[in-house]
């Protein structure tokens, strides 16, 4: 395009969780500035956790997000149990993983169908898309509902579950209660397989980046609630070493801190990172769905994250069915976690990527210091890097289409702005 200077601005990004804006400036055909501005007000959770009892963290931190409360609960519990020297295993861990599967299912179904699919099919909203694709939207709603029901079954309610405690649960379900959910999950798994087929047919922009992927990794299972922090660049550390390798920085244009690798720079967390670092650990059905969609074990196109989310939907349903199949109700719903003066670390895979918590507590269990690093703040620098290249590649597009492409690129990350503040509007300045 012969225009010298362009500015593209999106003042309130739609279909992302929370409030943020995007500003892009180009000059003589080069992108000179990209800013993802997160203006959702900070909420100071870390500050008001100080002075509270260590047992309160699952309920307080669940309030950070209405879409991924379980992730907060799980990272919080893991950190407190780490501080107190207690490991929660066996069926209690299996139930935590099962609850987490529910959250992955509802969160991924919401993003794939309601938020991201309209970008690929050229609709401004899910309502417009539903007029032409009612069957698909009904399928998405059904999947999401299955996830919500699983969360309610184990967590007591689907938003901000109330049944999670440090050490386990307040109440565990009977074998019969879980068996009653099997048919529902089988139908959800079929819908998930159909989801992968559906999104695999979308027109994918050709775009690849040399990402440094960061995700939890375990040799024996796809990471959800446990694993070492690994990267495609060779990092392999325990959660307790997080602070030695990652740094959070303030940037003037955002209420969310930007995370960087001390040894590198921007990195990517979330479904794409998990998939690339753990493909072999997927269930046979999930692998088959991925291959059927044309995906190999490595995927560097962030637009294909919608397909990877579909694959993870298959996995989460499959894994939930496996966990129910092997369930044997534990005698006690929790293990005792006596407090001691210590610092503990917890890192689990929220739907959007690794969520790190660190707490220092005193001998009575009172929180002295709290640190929470959500996935969206870790992805911010990478989102900006992606946008720079997406805009550079797409400068020939008129402003309205370029703006849509930018929004689609941001939604590749399913950013959760509320979580990240401590996030969208778009401005593109072409000069």
């Amino acid at each position: 395009m012969p225009v010298e200077r362009r500015t593209i601005k999106v003042d309130a990004l739609a279909r992302v969780e929370g409030e943020g804006a995007l500003y892009v400036r180009t000059s003589r055909g080069r992108v000179t500035e990209v800013r993802l501005q997160i203006y959702e007000p900070p909420r100071f959770f870390e500050a008001f956790l100080r002075g509270r009892a260590f047992t309160e963290t699952p309920d307080i931190t669940a309030r950070i997000c209405g879409i991924c409360p379980v992730a907060y609960q799980m990272s919080a519990c893991r950190a407190m149990e780490d501080a107190c020297g207690v490991a929660v295993g066996g069926q209690l861990r299996a139930l935590r993983r099962l609850l987490y599967c529910g959250e992955w299912i509802q969160s991924h179904a919401l993003h794939v169908y309601m938020l991201h699919a309209p970008d690929f099919l050229g609709y401004g909203s899910i309502v417009e898309m539903a007029r032409d694709h009612p069957e698909a939207v009904q399928r998405g709603l059904g999947l999401k509902q299955a996830g919500n029901e699983l969360m309610r079954l184990l967590g007591g309610r689907e938003v901000h579950p109330i049944n999670v405690r440090v050490g386990g649960f307040y109440r565990v379900p009977s074998r019969r209660e879980l068996d009653g959910f099997v048919e529902r999950l089988r139908r959800a798994r079929d819908a998930a397989v159909e989801t992968v087929r559906w999104v695999a047919g979308f027109d994918m922009p050709a775009f690849e980046q040399p990402y440094e992927f960061v995700a939890l990794r375990r040799p024996d299972e796809y990471p959800i609630d446990d694993g070492r922090i690994a990267s495609s660049g060779g990092l392999d550390i325990a959660a307790g070493e997080y602070g030695d390798h990652f740094v959070e920085e303030q940037v003037p244009h955002s209420h969310a801190l930007h995370s960087r690798l001390r040894a590198g720079g921007a990195y990517l967390v979330g479904p794409l990172a998990r998939y690339n670092l753990n493909f072999e650990a997927l269930s046979p059905l999930a692998k088959e769905a991925a291959r059927g969609a044309g995906l190999g074990p490595v995927c560097r196109n962030p637009f294909q994250s919608i397909v990877v989310r579909g694959v993870e939907l298959v996995y989460a349903c499959d894994e939930a069915l496996r966990l129910i199949g092997q369930y044997d109700a534990p005698e006690r719903p929790y293990v005792d976690v006596p407090p001691r003066a210590a610092t503990g670390h917890g890192c689990t895979e929220a739907p959007r990527g690794i969520l790190y918590h660190r707490y220092t507590i005193d001998a009575a269990g009172t929180i002295v210091e709290a640190r929470i690093v959500p996935p969206t703040s870790q992805n911010q620098a990478q989102i900006e890097a992606d946008l720079r290249d997406v805009v550079q590649q797409s400068l020939a597009l008129p402003d309205d289409r370029l703006t849509l492409r930018c929004e689609q690129a941001v939604r590749n990350y399913d950013p959760c702005i509320s979580c990240a503040t401590h996030f969208l509007r778009l401005h593109i300045d072409r000069t």
């Binding site: 929370g18 209405g66 919401l110 899910i126 539903a130 709603l141 938003v159 509320s418």
Partner: protein
């Protein structure tokens, strides 16, 4: 509703966030309305995503939905919106910034497209003034809750009244 096949004549639905002051008005009013009318109620305290409503009112013939609004009208003003088109048009203007995946107006619009709306939908909006962190309604909004309950009761009485051919409903 837990049983997807069950139908209920009237369902009261409250939406809001009890920890954001006046945003709790719909929840408070829905609980009181349901008790006064002896009707089933579903409270969505901090509705993470509006599509949940489509599931909430599955099987309900009439739904009375109560929520706080922010339209610039005086605090405590009651907005009675009848039917999906009016609710969609006016809620889009009234609910303002939301971190929900889908807002209530969008959820109703989606329900209309997918034919997943109750036969009759009445939205009763209670205009709030204070949406800060904390619990408790402002005095005008607290008083308006009583008015919203009365408004909801009139709707329910109308629905429950035996159908008389030719009579005005």
């Amino acid at each position: 509703m837990n049983d997807p096949d069950r139908t209920v004549p009237v369902l009261v639905v409250g939406v809001g966030n009890a920890y954001r002051r006046d945003d709790g008005a719909g929840l408070a009013a829905a609980a009181r309305l349901a008790e006064a009318a002896g009707a089933p109620v579903r409270l969505h305290d901090r509705l993470a995503d509006g599509t949940a409503l489509l599931e909430t009112w599955r099987g309900a013939e009439t739904v009375i939905l109560l929520d706080a609004t922010r339209s610039g009208a005086p605090a405590g003003t009651i907005h009675r919106l009848t039917g999906a088109p009016e609710a969609i048009a006016r809620l889009e203007a009234h609910t303002g910034a939301s971190t929900h995946g889908l807002g209530i107006a969008e959820a109703i619009a989606l329900g209309a497209v997918l034919r997943r709306l109750p036969r009759r939908l009445v939205v009763i909006g209670i205009e709030g003034s204070c949406f800060e962190h904390g619990v408790g309604l402002s005095p005008e909004v607290g008083r308006a809750v009583t008015e919203a309950v009365d408004c909801g009761l009139q709707e329910i009485v109308r629905v429950r009244a035996p159908y008389v051919p030719g009579a005005s409903r």
